[in-house]
């Protein structure tokens, strides 16, 4: 009797990495996933409200772009989300997980608010504006630099470090909102310099939002050029791909990490400046409004490309605005928009799998067994 041949068990399918897909096909997959996500969102909405899907979409569109004011507010929100996304992008490209953008934005905003409150009626605008800009950028940059320093020096886990820095920033802002609160003890600062408008960014073309949008547009192009056509941008991508390679070719990895995080924090500081001085004219614990976290998803969904980020932040803000409208109309809680955002992101995250991998099924057994 011959020994029974050892059975080779081949799994039904296995997963393999695939070659780069043609440009159009990978984007087709992503667009399909967005469509699928939109259908899923509508399904959820229909179940919760009992309304027909067409009306749901119509309400969402109306909520986002129904009136001129809403359009402005939509673009303002896109600009701010985009600004924070731009800030986190160079760090992510380097595989430095800066999830502390929330805190970096807040300290930037706090620095701006501090200048407005303390010097608003003492300094002339010629000094006040540069001072606000410099302090907010510095504050954000320092907040970003601290974790980067420890990462470069001792390889301290940056994800957890930057996360903790958020809550320290939130508590510091809390501290100052009580300290400067109007009226005393209310825990709210209220509109800063409401009568003099000292330190407010000017209205351009009759809209208070336009200046923010323009600044972010310039930043977007700047960041695109920085990442694509600048030596720094190249160094960032090499460090992100492989730290060892970077070291072999003579890139000073530590320096790149610290420099990039300074930049990342600085742009977050600008976002804080724009939020406090440009639109809100006040500061609260919630000034960043979760943008620091949403920005990470925006940046990642856009494959770290600043131009695509315009699209992804548009998509997310549009849906949020639409979902908020739905929740107001049907008397639901406005956290509905977070559920919708979550669903969309799950779908897009999932779709990346089909861009990068392929499922190979077991070939038929015929002929294999002799």
């Amino acid at each position: 009797m011959s020994i029974k041949e050892k059975q080779i068990h081949e799994p039904l399918f296995h997963i393999a990495k695939r070659d780069a897909l043609p440009f159009w096909l990978s984007w087709l997959i992503r667009i399909l996933s967005v469509v699928a996500a939109l259908i899923a969102c509508a399904a959820v909405t229909v179940v919760l409200t009992g309304e027909n899907p067409i009306n749901v979409y119509a309400t969402m569109i109306d909520g986002a772009i129904g009136t001129e004011r809403r359009i402005w507010s939509l673009f303002q929100n896109i600009a701010m989300l985009l600004c924070v996304s731009l800030a986190v992008t160079p760090a992510f490209k380097m595989k430095f997980w800066n999830i502390g953008a929330e805190g970096q934005v807040l300290v930037g905003g706090l620095a701006t608010a501090a200048c407005m409150i303390l010097f608003g009626d003492k300094l002339s605008p010629v000094i006040l504006y540069p001072l606000m800009i410099v302090t907010s950028i510095l504050a954000g940059a320092i907040w970003g630099f601290i974790p980067a320093f420890f990462k470069a020096k001792w390889n301290t886990n940056e994800t957890l470090f930057t996360l903790m820095m958020n809550y320290i920033a939130i508590q510091i802002v809390s501290f100052f909102t009580y300290k400067w609160s109007v009226p005393k003890g209310s825990g709210q600062i209220g509109v800063i310099n409401a009568s003099t408008q000292a330190g407010w960014l000017p209205n351009i073309g009759g809209s208070p939002y336009l200046i923010n949008i323009l600044i972010v547009a310039v930043l977007t192009i700047g960041m695109y050029i920085y990442l694509k056509y600048n030596k720094h941008g190249y160094e960032i991508s090499v460090v992100g791909e492989s730290e060892n390679t970077a070291r072999y070719v003579g890139i000073n990895v530590k320096k790149v990490i610290m420099r990039t995080m300074l930049l990342s924090g600085a742009i977050c500081g600008i976002a804080g400046l724009l939020l406090v001085s440009g639109t809100d004219h006040t500061i609260t614990r919630n000034t960043a409004a979760g943008r620091g976290f949403t920005a990470i998803m925006v940046s990642w969904l856009a494959k770290f490309n600043p131009i695509y980020m315009v699209l992804t932040s548009f998509l997310i803000v549009f849906l949020q605005k639409g979902a908020i409208e739905i929740s107001t109309i049907y008397g639901l809680n406005d956290s509905f928009s977070e559920i919708i955002t979550g669903i969309i992101i799950f779908f897009i995250i999932g779709s990346e799998f089909f861009v990068n991998y392929t499922v190979k099924f077991r070939e038929s057994k015929k002929g294999a067994n002799k």
Partner: protein, 325 residues
């Protein structure tokens, strides 16, 4: 006063203990689940939904069912979150940070949405979600606890979920260090390629540990609503405790038995501002910062000392793909 302080610190610490034990179990498999904050919200609200439906459907509640139904629905909710996370990161190999943050957005939104709209969705005539009856069942303490003076207050005055949290943490600790499956789990978290070569089913371990971890973390949310908040759901009431639980994981250097004491310490730091006399409101806000500062200091120290026992799992945050070199 010191007794009351310790007692309140423990009550504050228990949700953190649940959260951090769950997160440690998850992280040991190499999955950095930043969605824990969301999972805890979902665990809490699922329990609330279960209890709410039950309380609405019967005249008088049966204590056993009043505990089991929320417990079961909480498990269902958080296990679903864990499953979602593992499906995206393990099967579809998505980026863990992005997935985790999306899970938090979704989970917190889910909690606040149903917390705020449940009554409206069910056309119920109650003004707010107040689950006093269920909460009373959850808050059952040992009958003789208040007869033992300070000893009873400090050690015996809590509800069963609090003791469950400590037992689960101890069991988890035992599991990691004394069982074969625990060893395999740690191997998966340290170096999945090696574990795979040794014949360990990496995906299975990652799925299981993430789901079980999520369920345990979800209990933290449930404990918060049913015990601490007396069955009253308030939106954003749970606050940043989910992130604090992740901080506690670092503070406890990935050891569940350390996190028992750590959670009580964090709970104490969380409320210490109420016990320092003559503290202005603004300074109270500064004191709330301490748990995070302490965590950062611990994080820096363990990275400087590089002791092998206190490092995070080596492959933490990385998706494993067998065919990748």
């Amino acid at each position: 006063m010191i007794v009351a302080f310790i007692q309140r610190a423990v009550v504050q610490g228990i949700p953190l203990l649940f959260g951090s034990t769950g997160e440690i179990i998850t992280e040991k498999s190499g999955n950095l689940n930043l969605g824990t904050a969301g999972v805890m919200y979902v665990g809490g609200i699922s329990g609330v939904i279960g209890a709410f439906l039950y309380e609405q459907s019967v005249e008088t509640v049966n204590p056993a069912l009043a505990v089991l139904i929320p417990l079961f629905s909480s498990i269902l909710g958080s296990a679903f979150m864990g499953l979602l996370y593992s499906f995206l990161t393990v099967t579809l190999r998505a980026n863990q940070n992005v997935t985790g943050l999306a899970l938090t957005t979704f989970g917190v939104g889910f909690g606040n949405f149903f917390g705020g709209s449940l009554i409206k969705l069910l056309d119920s005539d109650t003004p707010s979600i107040t689950l006093t009856q269920t909460s009373n069942c959850f808050k059952q303490t040992l009958p003789f606890a208040d007869k033992l003076g300070w000893f009873g207050d400090i050690f015996l005055s809590y509800s069963f979920l609090a003791y469950a949290a400590i037992i689960i943490a101890l069991l988890a600790s035992f599991f990691f260090n004394r069982t074969r499956a625990g060893l395999h789990l740690r191997a998966v978290g340290e170096n999945p390629a090696t574990a795979d070569a040794a014949g360990i089913n990496v995906s299975k371990y990652k799925y299981l540990s993430t789901c079980i971890g999520s369920i345990i973390a979800g209990f933290g949310g449930l404990y918060y609503v049913m015990d601490y908040a007396c069955g009253v759901w308030s939106n954003d009431g749970f606050g940043d405790r989910g992130w604090l639980a992740i901080a506690l994981v670092i503070f406890a250097v990935w050891k569940p038995n350390f996190s028992i004491l750590g959670s009580i310490l964090f709970g104490g730091l969380f409320i210490i501002h109420n016990y320092i006399p003559n503290l202005s409101i603004s300074m109270q806000e500064m004191f709330k910062m301490t748990p995070y500062v302490v965590t950062i200091i611990v994080l820096i120290i363990i990275s400087m000392r590089r002791k092998r026992e206190t490092q995070p799992p080596a492959s933490l945050g990385l998706s494993y793909f067998r065919e990748e070199r």
